[in-house]
């Protein structure tokens, strides 16, 4: 069998993505969820024109392939991903490029080139802390920390009500919200 000459091949675009989630996401679950969202949003016929494939996925960075004239639809599909296996998830599209190499160099490797030390502090250690807002004080445990952003787990009934209302497991706060500053890891 001869392969199709390059002039007759469909041209593609490559989307660099970054996945933000409450927990760790295996590649397999991410693929399933994206394809499920594509199927529910556009149906089988629409999906066959898009040619969505997940090419690589490492440490929450990934590259998605789609047809050249279907980039907007692909963005819409990625935007409708709400949760994966019960964990709230958001997919950020960092940029679009015409080649895999372009997408990788332009959007995924920029931190390494421009900022030699990004100083991302990711900790899983759990520490108690409190946050004071105008309706009262929230006590909780720090679950995730990523630079200034903190996920706070709280279990008192009033907090559970708020968290249920917004469909998340953790309070999303920053280091600036916390009163006692002894949280440096």
């Amino acid at each position: 069998m001869k392969i199709l000459p390059p002039t007759l091949r469909e041209s593609n675009r490559y989307l660099a993505i970054f996945v933000i989630s409450e927990g760790d996401i295996p590649r397999r679950d991410l693929v399933n969820e994206i394809l499920f969202c594509a199927a529910t949003l556009l149906g089988d016929a629409g999906n066959s024109e898009m040619g969505i494939r997940l090419l690589s996925f490492e440490e929450n960075n990934g590259i998605i392939q789609c047809r050249m004239d279907r980039v907007w639809e692909t963005r819409a599909v990625l935007a409708t991903v709400m949760s994966i296996k019960g964990m709230r998830t958001r997919i950020n599209v960092l940029g679009v490029s015409g080649t895999v190499r372009g997408a990788t160099e332009k959007y995924l490797l920029t931190q390494d080139i421009n900022e030699p030390e990004p100083e991302i502090k990711r900790t899983k250690t759990i520490k108690e802390c409190k946050m004071i807002i105008d309706v009262g004080t929230i006590y909780g445990k720090i679950v995730n920390r990523n630079n200034n952003e903190i996920d706070l787990l709280s279990e008192d009934p009033h907090s559970l009500e708020i968290l249920n209302r917004s469909d998340t497991r953790f309070y999303g706060i920053t280091v600036f919200d916390i009163k006692d500053k002894e949280i440096d890891v």
Partner: protein, 237 residues
């Protein structure tokens, strides 16, 4: 693509603590990372009280933070009472739409800036409401969280209603805004993703771009301008 890159994007309906689970600072940081030039932190609660926003994060540069309130009411007289109470206290007044009476009361009140999620119960607007919205300068909101949260039949119904709203707004020249109606930072989406979902509702690319940049920008500008007395009356000197 140049025009998209040079635009300023705004998200005019974002909820934070104490109503929902994320602090204002977290929302601001996340929105800034995504490429927005401003967000509106909207209070929403049954008592319709405005929580002053205490922003603890050092103020980011080139970022606009507005305060807002989303009014929930059962009938039109209560709605008007709450609107009059919050005039001059907040930057942006939006009304939690859905019921036909409330939608009507909102678009006929000149103080209202945004009619938020009018199609949340699957009922589209009609020609009378769209015309009133165009006359009073009330922006019709297209909330993308309807497409994200709902699945199946209810999503189909809401999307149908949203499509009709786009058609009517285009016909009567009513302002459209796309908002995220975010309850946590997992609900925020980047500007281009919001545009993509807007285009799924039947907007053209230019309409989606304006609904995310120039229309919200002009709403903020209009309310920040102290010389404005009411629609069409302005202190010039």
């Amino acid at each position: 693509m140049g025009i998209i890159k040079s635009s300023n994007f705004y998200d005019l309906n974002v909820h934070a603590l104490p109503d929902y689970a994320d602090s204002p600072s977290r929302m601001i940081l996340e929105a800034k990372d995504m490429g927005y030039s401003g967000i509106c932190l909207t209070s929403i609660n049954p008592a319709n009280t405005f929580h002053g926003t205490k922003i603890t994060v050092p103020m980011p540069r080139d970022f606009d933070i507005c305060t807002g309130i989303e009014i929930q009411a059962d009938n039109v007289s209560k709605l008007n009472k709450f609107i009059n109470k919050s005039v001059n206290k907040v930057d942006i007044i939006s009304v939690n739409g859905g019921h036909e009476d409330i939608n009507r009361g909102a678009v006929e009140n000149g103080h209202v800036d945004i009619l938020a999620h009018p199609a949340s119960q699957g009922n589209p607007l009609n020609h009378v409401l769209s015309k009133a919205a165009a006359d009073n300068g009330v922006a019709i909101d297209f909330n993308i969280d309807a497409l994200i949260r709902h699945k199946g039949a209810s999503r189909v119904r809401i999307l149908t209603a949203l499509r009709q709203n786009v058609r009517l707004a285009r016909k009567f020249d009513a302002p459209m805004v796309i908002t995220s109606n975010a309850r946590s930072h997992y609900d925020l989406r980047g500007p281009r993703e919001m545009m993509a979902l807007g285009m799924l509702m039947g907007m053209t690319q230019e309409e989606a771009l304006h609904a995310l940049s120039t229309v919200p920008g002009s709403i903020i500008e209009r309310n920040r301008n102290n010389n404005r007395i009411m629609d069409g009356v302005e202190v010039v000197q």
